[in-house]
């Protein structure tokens, strides 16, 4: 039996505007998505802001009612059977909110341990272990409001693990974290997964998704564009090679070359940086021919990444 089971899930929001004449508008945040997650899996939801990722997570953690469709966690409906789910799951939202900022990290964890019915005899020891794991043992008794963004996020992670959940939902957990902090978080996620926790993760960080997730769903405007393993998604991408080039002058006509699927360019310190997605060896040769007259400062070619596949899918859906 899948740990998470979602079928034809729909969620609409009604928003009102206008002071005198109230205008109602319906926003279709999630439009009939279906997927399932098996025990022990790390499942990724990728998408732009407003794609429907957070709304999906909110329905899964019993915070929001679906408009229609099936939304089950551990075999129970997330709307109507919340009591059967809540002590076995937990969630972490990215950002600095979701904690009592005038309390210390330890007091926050003690309070949430109480709300998650953590036995009193093991609570304090477990909190010490969590604080050690997120590297906050020496600041455990300091008010959260004095913490940096990264430290606050680490308290959130400890809070999310307070009940040793069977399923952990992470909504952009590395937002605002420095590279070292993000790496620590990825380590914690892997460790929790190794201990048997099933994880559903949303992120904008493609490297993170590629490294952590067994399967990924790419969502846009509330609809799945693709759902598969990262390797299969990359393999399906038209992009075979990505060239990263730094030049002294921007050759404007690269995007028109047949076989070039995407060009991203940026200017800094008089130099032009290009990221060119090529679909064939012929396209690579033509790109090299075009840039030959300019001075090449650096050049790197790599096989297609998840980011290339993601951009292609999302841009393709927009067109």
């Amino acid at each position: 039996m899948p740990i998470i089971e979602v079928k034809d899930l729909v969620r609409d929001y009604t928003i009102t505007s206008g002071l005198v004449r109230r205008n109602k508008k319906t926003i279709n945040a999630v439009r009939g998505i279906s997927f399932s997650v098996e025990r022990g899996e790390i499942f990724g939801l990728l998408g732009q802001n407003g794609a429907g990722k957070t709304t999906t997570i909110k329905m899964l953690i019993t915070m929001l009612a679906p408009t229609s469709g099936t939304c089950k966690v551990l075999g129970y409906n997330t709307f109507g059977q919340e009591k059967m789910i809540r002590d076995k799951v937990n969630f972490i939202f990215g950002g600095e909110y979701g904690l009592y900022r005038r309390l210390s990290a330890r007091d926050n964890l003690k309070y949430f341990a109480n709300l998650y019915k953590v036995p009193l005899d093991t609570r304090d020891k477990y909190i010490d272990e969590l604080l050690e794991m997120v590297g906050l043992s020496d600041r455990a008794d300091t008010r959260v409001e004095t913490f940096s963004k990264g430290m606050t996020q680490r308290v959130q992670i400890a809070r999310g693990l307070i009940n040793n959940p069977e399923v952990l939902f992470l909504d952009e957990p590395t937002v605002g974290l420095d590279p070292l902090g993000a790496e620590t978080l990825r380590g914690i996620v892997k460790e929790a997964n190794k201990r048997g926790t099933t994880i559903l993760l949303t992120t904008h960080n493609m490297y993170e998704a590629d490294e952590l997730c067994n399967r990924i769903a790419i969502i846009k405007d509330g609809v799945f564009l693709d759902l598969d393993t990262p390797a299969n998604i990359k393999a399906r991408s038209d992009t075979k090679t990505t060239l990263e080039i730094t030049l002294t002058k921007n050759p404007l006509n690269i995007a028109t070359i047949s076989g070039v699927s995407h060009v991203a360019s940026s200017e800094k310190d008089g130099l032009t940086s290009l990221r060119v997605s090529c679909q064939s060896d012929n396209a690579i040769s033509q790109v090299l021919a075009v840039i030959e007259p300019t001075t090449i400062k650096s050049f790197k070619n790599e096989v297609a990444t998840l980011e290339d596949a993601y951009i292609q899918l999302v841009k393709g859906a927009s067109e």
């Binding site: 809540r86 002590d87 909110y97 019915k117």
Partner: protein
């Protein structure tokens, strides 16, 4: 983990959080003094019986109401903005126990503001302590606290339904002070508003407190029955509405600001 533990830890957390807020310190220490002066000047030439009933008790109740109900409503807003409302709502323990603990926390702190008002009024206007029955006054005060807690819970539940909490909580504070007779007898209100005021337990709580300080405690039992009836009525109403409200909260998605 038992219910008592959830209530107590929520209460302690609330007191720590609340006392750290400068606005609450103002509500607790400064506002009682200001409201006592306003009422004291209004009733400066009133008979002493009215002065005790409407200045000493009135300012105390004004601040007690402000601190319990207004803070509890404000907490819904604060928790919604800090994204902790959705956290505690989605926790395995009953949300009602968590919120009861928070209101208890506010109540304990708010009782201080009541006594600051009372003591300040008595010292500033040199009012002698004259109470018909300390026993009846103590009972009335305890029931007043209970009635304020009950109505605060009811308001807090309703405020989870909308994100426009700030507007509603500001609309709630003064109308209750006016229609529940904190500052003047409800009998002075137009009839429809007077009858409306009889629905709310604080109206009867105020009457009961006043009855216990004047000679012979007229109508004490009659008022007590009405206070108990309206309080029980609001407890039943809150219990009946709880499931509907929190089902609607999940449908409308009003627990956070996103």
């Amino acid at each position: 983990m038992n219910s008592k533990s959830v209530v107590i830890t929520s209460m302690i957390l609330q007191m720590k959080q609340t006392f750290a807020r400068n606005m609450f310190k103002y509500c607790m220490f400064i506002a009682p003094i200001l409201s006592t002066i306003i009422l004291g000047e209004m009733y400066r030439y009133a008979p002493q019986e009215n002065f005790i009933a409407f200045v000493v008790l009135g300012s105390g109740l004004w601040n007690l109401w402000g601190a319990i109900a207004f803070s509890s409503a404000g907490d819904i807003n604060r928790e919604r903005y800090s994204n902790t409302l959705s956290m505690i709502f989605s926790a395995p323990v009953d949300f009602r126990l968590i919120w009861l603990g928070k209101i208890f926390g506010n109540t304990i702190l708010s009782i201080c503001s009541f006594f600051i008002s009372v003591i300040f009024a008595m010292v500033l206007y040199r009012i002698p302590v004259q109470v018909y029955s300390w026993g009846l006054l103590t009972l009335a005060f305890a029931l007043t606290i209970v009635s304020f807690i009950v109505i605060s819970i009811f308001i807090a539940y309703l405020l989870t339904l909308s994100r426009r909490t700030t507007l509603f909580m500001n609309c709630l504070e003064f109308p209750f002070i006016l229609i529940c007779g904190f500052a003047f007898p409800v009998e002075l209100l137009p009839n429809p508003i007077m009858y409306l005021s009889f629905i709310f337990p604080p109206t009867w709580a105020v009457k009961l407190l006043r009855s216990s300080i004047v000679a012979d405690a007229p109508d004490y039992m009659h008022i007590l029955v009405w206070l108990l009836a309206t309080t029980i009525g609001f407890i039943l109403l809150s219990s009946l509405l709880y499931k509907t409200i929190f089902r609607q909260v999940k449908i409308a998605g009003t627990l956070d600001m996103a």
